[in-house]
Symmetry: C3
Subunit: 365 residues, 3 copies
Amino acid sequence: MSDNASLVGGGVTLFELVAALPHGGDAVLHGNPELVIARIAPLELAGPGDIAFLSHAKYAQRLDTTQASCVILAPEQLARAQSARQGDLSAAFVCTPAPYLYFARLTQWWKARQDESAPSGRIHPSAVIDPSASLHPTARIGALCVIGASASVGEGTTLHARVTLASGCRIGARCIVHSGAVIGADGFGFAPRADKSWEKIEQLGAVVIGDDVEIGANTCIDRGALQDTLIEDGVKLDNLVQIGHNVRIGAHSALAGCAGVAGSAVIGKRCTIGGGAVVLGHLTLVDDVHISASTTVMRSLLKAGNYSGIFPVDDNASWERNAAHVRRLDASRDQSRAQMQALQRRVDQLEASVQVLTNAQRSQT
Amino acid sequence: MSDNASLVGGGVTLFELVAALPHGGDAVLHGNPELVIARIAPLELAGPGDIAFLSHAKYAQRLDTTQASCVILAPEQLARAQSARQGDLSAAFVCTPAPYLYFARLTQWWKARQDESAPSGRIHPSAVIDPSASLHPTARIGALCVIGASASVGEGTTLHARVTLASGCRIGARCIVHSGAVIGADGFGFAPRADKSWEKIEQLGAVVIGDDVEIGANTCIDRGALQDTLIEDGVKLDNLVQIGHNVRIGAHSALAGCAGVAGSAVIGKRCTIGGGAVVLGHLTLVDDVHISASTTVMRSLLKAGNYSGIFPVDDNASWERNAAHVRRLDASRDQSRAQMQALQRRVDQLEASVQVLTNAQRSQT
Amino acid sequence: MSDNASLVGGGVTLFELVAALPHGGDAVLHGNPELVIARIAPLELAGPGDIAFLSHAKYAQRLDTTQASCVILAPEQLARAQSARQGDLSAAFVCTPAPYLYFARLTQWWKARQDESAPSGRIHPSAVIDPSASLHPTARIGALCVIGASASVGEGTTLHARVTLASGCRIGARCIVHSGAVIGADGFGFAPRADKSWEKIEQLGAVVIGDDVEIGANTCIDRGALQDTLIEDGVKLDNLVQIGHNVRIGAHSALAGCAGVAGSAVIGKRCTIGGGAVVLGHLTLVDDVHISASTTVMRSLLKAGNYSGIFPVDDNASWERNAAHVRRLDASRDQSRAQMQALQRRVDQLEASVQVLTNAQRSQT
């Protein structure tokens, strides 16, 4: 594969790699521990010097052709993998019951190793930080961040460049906030005046974010109107996500890019919300609700499960015809029903007539 | 309720509070004016020391159980409220014909009181301001804003941290622009070359914003191609809203988060556009048009009213079945019609046969 | 038209204007070359001193009433235009086979002429640039940009104010990146732990952007997980667009505002994707696929063409009725089919009975 950031200068032996990973106890290395690994690569592209992983059994046929030096895989795939590389001394395997998780931890160790030579400065001098803000000594604040009065940043949390954390907002430990995110802008609250212009409702709450939360680039989380907007532990928000005021997002829920949650909605724990999906205001989604991309949630969802609402894509001509039918579903249903009933009446009448004829004929014979 | 930003240090008496509010003339205090208020809280959560409000009669039962020290309410709710707190000397009520509007003004006064101790510096030294820009002496420019050549900012307008106001763009009085907003980036204009690559059309217009406009975090308003993009007085844009080049948005219209308006669309006055809704380019929406969240407006709407277009959310299995039907609505309509017509022809034939039989039988008898 | 940024101080003669434009060879000036042009204006608004253009024959009637000093038009429109302005010495015409393209190039020349007096500083002193970044000497870096370690910016490329180009990301020649864009934030990658919390997958790839690419305000392009995210030459991304990790966008494709492309999707060359449209992850769109605004692409599109999937907008009451029918399409289809079959069986029975009666009658006569 092409030269890229997943290259570690000089390489690392499989022995070092397996020994370094946390929870390595349940992983077993099959093969030469002195093999040198220089890159992490996708299995279908990996070559000599690369370590790759097999996450799903459905991709197992990739084991038959890969040239990767090492593949992370589940025990039940080992036999196939070894058979494909029989006699190849430059092939090794890491067996673990959770290859995808092992791969995730490998990327973390890999990145930390790359970053060892990075400057250790934790608060970039160009950041604008209110003197009343509270930053844990291990927090990292990127270039050109703005941190407002009385805001706080927890242990080991990283704010990448150009993040706004507005006054009074609090973010917990081990969080990552990507560039351009805005935490604590005013919620969208206005009272209508008699003339239909708008009176601003000042937003007096803040944003409170738990531990181990990740917030994507240019994502916005509004401060609450009176209470705080709450993002619980372990929540993951992708880029360009909008979280309205007073929203509460339960622990370990994940929202993909361009999703929007309107004010005062409450989302349970371990929910997933697809890209571009919208949750309307004041709704409740219970724990373990999964919303497909581009779906608009217009009612509370009080039962765990998977939900969708997407107009199916089609070639333009087909879509136009079908969309036109959708616009007259109600009218055409009425028309169909009327036609059906008219026909039923005619058949009723026919059956009666035939009965009369039959009776008459019987009486004749 | 929990300690949060809506707390005013030391508290304030109801006497002070009622006296301080503008348009207080139509509000009447019932109860002890010396009661001390420390917080504004939602009615369902409010306790001693809190002021709350009742906006809709449908929530009136909350009056029966609230422990709020003061409730802002409409005159027709006063009797119920007083009866529920009979003999409770720590309960008071502010009667006003527009409780929600009164509450909005209360939040403003509350915020101003909190901010009294804030530093009065109006132009943050980290802002990058072109010397040819024109800033009203009362404008506030936040940290790390960028203001381009010949741009102008009106009286009492606030740009929060990290706002871009590009060259030549003008914003009126008493506006609020939230962090990360970009006003005056190039509109998306390209002419196709013969080889289907794109020739840039330089965007020579600007953005002109009226008075009392609020613009959300990370929202973008593009400059016009030849003319200016216009945002009229009192418009409210939520976060992550996209306004294309040459768009005109009429006074007091409000657009919720993630809404998008494509180039050259004209939106009337007092319109509302729900979150994630899209208005296509070159369309006209007249005054007082209201678009539901996630709706795509594909044609001009020349009559005031409420409009929607959302695929209803459902459990995945039901959605899949219904979406499959949507994709063959046209085909199945044709099929249904053919079946119906075939049946009608058979019934026509039967009626003729029965008529023949009946006539024959009559002639026999 | 109103005074705006498309005004060039002092004006320019048509002679100068036509001579200055690249590819001017195929354009012919009809009229007085000494006419002075001060503005570019839309044809329907243009007056004396303005140059305008006619792009589509369907707008040709505007030629009959315009007061523009010069109109750029196709040869086949010249006769009508000249006839409308017969004897008007202050009217001129530039004839070219591609008026829209000529207009695009005119705006470029116009803008360059306006900018001649602009300060020539190419790297704003407020930008934060890692010493290991590589900037071409002709690159322009706006105020408060952040450029990470080992990032590179090509010849003649402009980063407007407040852009993030993260570590290791590369952008080619003659690109334009608008304010607030974030290139190279982490992709959204997490492996589920047994307890349904998330383990971060470090994103070890970068973003590689070709030549002549334009990237809109507050748009985000994520770095790849292992490989690089690729944006090929000539791609145009509007504002608030989200590009997930590992995505590849083919040359000269254009994505309108608020569009989103999920991780590992591959989009071909010369595609267009409308505003707010969503392409799900791991899909392939071949070259020359055109997606309408707000459409969600849920399957690979392997044939060039135009695709849509939008619930049609309607007045609220009609939408509610039709949406309710959509939710029971499957059930009501079953019901219709059952009714139809029941009726068919009754008609079958009737036909048999009538046959019996007819036979009986025949045997009688």
